[in-house]
């Protein structure tokens, strides 16, 4: 009798398992960035014609980049800023702040940038360690990188790293959702991304929606190996995961989509030997499998990079183009689908050392504003979050200067 009963349960499990797999959304294609769909890739500023020098100076005055610090909090250490466009055209930034990186008093903070007035509001705490551990029903030792995401249903979500045991290699990702553009938040939920005690998955760069509305997030693994992964999220749960690189050297992938099936990823380079250059990988099947590509001709001192697809078809990367240290921060540009990267602007550079250490202008995050302007948020010497707003005509003029020089 028991024998028959156990066979029946097994048969039931087989059917339920089959239905479960069958009901999962099949892999789908990338969305095309609006800029690449259109044939009219003509920016507002004059595009240089071959053999003709662009006459930047003859144009109407181009607004210079506007830099400002996000209002300070009492925290001595801040890091890992990123921002998202709100429905009203303003920006909301998130970063972590505390007595030092990895301290138990680190909280995730937020502030809103009034795009019309051009200034930042007061910063507020989104979540602290105790609220996170109560919400997640498990001990949390420290909080890490926050990443805002706009869900395909239009809601604001915040993905963030937490650690229960050990250092950053012990990270897991959690997320929560807001129905009021980031004023209040739901109870956080945990993503399960790894079979070894769910250890060691972190986020840095923004993702994208697949054409079926599932969320693609480029994440990375840090324990034992260091490699990039693309996770696919549906209804707050990870429903697929694909390795973007293997080995022990590549972190924090950023993804640029070229076509519905094609994309390129660039990585922070963490190898101990060999040239310190931004590494790359490509996919030709919408992210299901990735092959490593050649390194870019851009130096990388094992530091995070940020990428942005512009509406005129160009792409931007913000990076520390050094082989070690993070005292210089620059913007580089390349046309979509190419790897002809050119550094067009130096945003920070300060080689003074304090106690033998260089200052640090790092962990950039790029965002396209409501009117096509570009926003950059980065860590200013670990003490402040800095924000620079670029007019796209300024970027165009810098590109043309570079092209004509």
């Amino acid at each position: 009798m028991m024998r028959i009963a156990s066979l029946c349960i097994l048969a039931l499990a087989a059917v339920a398992g089959y239905i479960q797999i069958d009901s999962r959304p099949p892999w789908t294609s990338f969305p095309m960035p609006a800029a690449l769909e259109s044939e009219l890739l003509v920016p507002e500023a004059a595009t240089p014609v071959a053999g003709k020098k662009p006459q930047v100076s003859a144009q109407v005055s181009i607004p210079e980049p506007r830099a400002q610090f996000i209002p300070e909090t009492a925290a001595p250490s801040v890091h890992a800023g990123s921002a998202i466009l709100l429905n009203d055209g303003n920006l909301r930034a998130f970063w972590f702040a505390g007595s030092r990186e990895g301290a138990t008093d680190v909280v995730i903070q937020t502030a809103v940038f009034d795009a019309k007035a051009g200034n930042w509001g007061k910063s507020e705490v989104v979540i602290d360690r105790v609220a996170a551990e109560k919400g997640l029903s498990r001990y949390i030792k420290k909080l890490g990188n926050p990443l805002p995401v706009r869900s395909s249903q239009g809601k604001l979500q915040l993905y963030f790293v937490t650690v229960s045991v050990g250092g950053w290699a012990g990270s897991s990702i959690s997320w929560m959702e807001s129905s009021d553009e980031g004023v209040t938040w739901s109870r956080p939920q945990r993503l399960i991304t790894s079979p070894a005690l769910n250890l060691s998955t972190l986020i840095k760069a923004p993702g994208f929606d697949f054409t079926d509305g599932t969320l693609g997030l480029p994440v990375y693994h840090e324990w034992m190996g260091k490699f990039g992964e693309l996770i696919r999220i549906d209804g707050g749960r990870v429903i697929d995961k694909r390795r973007m690189s293997s080995g022990r050297a590549l972190l924090q992938p950023i993804v640029f989509i070229d076509a519905p099936e094609k994309a390129v990823a660039y990585f922070r380079q963490a190898r101990s030997e060999g040239p310190a250059r931004i590494a790359s990988a490509q996919t030709e099947n919408a992210g299901q499998s990735w092959a490593s590509g050649i390194d870019l001709d851009l130096a990388n001192p094992n530091a995070a990079i940020a990428g942005l697809q512009l509406s005129n078809g160009d792409r931007l990367i913000a990076l520390n183009d050094l082989e070690s240290a993070r005292y210089r921060l620059v913007l580089a540009i390349a046309p979509a689908g190419t790897s002809n990267w050119n550094v067009i602007a130096e945003l920070e550079s300060d080689q003074t050392r304090i106690n033998g250490l260089y200052r640090e202008f790092s962990y950039p995050s790029l965002l396209l504003g409501a009117n096509g302007e570009v926003h950059l948020i980065y860590t200013y010497d670990r003490k402040k979050m800095k924000h620079i707003q670029f007019d796209r005509r300024w970027i165009e003029s810098k590109k043309n200067q570079k092209g004509s020089s």
Binding site: A13, Y18, E133, R138, R190
Partner: protein, 216 residues
């Protein structure tokens, strides 16, 4: 799929019960090894019930700087146990006399763990963990393992594997990956450890016999 709040309570209860059982087994091993009374199922269940409640409710937050129930600290480190590991532990505790996991099954768990974890942690571009999200082949392999166990007469193993698949299919835990319901590092380490232990004991016994034999 369970709602998030229910899932959190269920998961914490599971961890509390599993931790209580491990504590009870440890106490039994240390203090009551000779006592026959611990074989009584009712007493074992009572001990587990009391310990699990102490772990599940935030009682110690009232008298110490702790912020959470004790089980939440365990969960911070372990996450959810796989359903297979959890049910093997629970059933072993309730019916201690039965021979629980046959050596063949332990070998199979150990082999899978030894191949699976290095690959899942990034040794190459091959990631078997990704199969757990929607691979009919992996599902078929788990069902085949359960069928083998059933044919070999290990009903309990077959039922536990079937329940693990069912738990995955209904979204019992936070993970949507079948691997997380059938295998965890503790189960793998236990299988490997217990095989090494029995091999070592076997050799020691053999050495002893050999010694006596030569002496005689």
């Amino acid at each position: 799929m369970l709602s998030n709040s229910v899932m959190q309570i269920v998961a914490l209860m599971e961890i509390a019960i599993s931790s209580a059982i491990l504590l009870a087994l440890l106490m039994q091993e240390l203090f009551f090894k000779a006592e026959g009374a611990v074989r009584m199922v009712a007493l074992r269940a009572l001990v587990c019930f009391v310990l699990a409640n102490l772990l599940f409710w935030p009682v110690f937050t009232l008298i110490s700087p702790l912020e959470l129930p004790l089980a939440a600290y365990v969960r911070g480190f372990t996450g959810e146990l796989s359903i297979t590991a959890m049910l093997l532990l629970w059933t072993a505790y309730i019916s201690p006399k039965e021979i629980h996991v046959p050596a063949g099954v332990k070998v199979w768990i150990a082999l899978v763990a030894i191949v699976f974890y290095p690959l899942a942690l990034g040794v190459s571009m091959l990631d078997p963990y990704a199969w757990g999200f929607g691979s009919f082949t992996l599902l078929a392999a788990v069902i085949a393992t359960a069928l083998f166990a059933w044919l070999a007469g290990f009903n309990r193993i077959a039922i536990i594997l079937a329940l693990s698949i069912l738990a995955w299919a209904v979204g019992w835990h936070e993970s949507a990956n079948l691997w997380d319901y059938i295998l965890d590092p503790f189960l793998g380490l236990w299988a490997i450890g217990s095989l090494i232990w029995s091999a070592w004991r076997g050799r020691a016994a053999q050495a002893q016999t050999g010694y006596l034999f030569r002496k005689g």
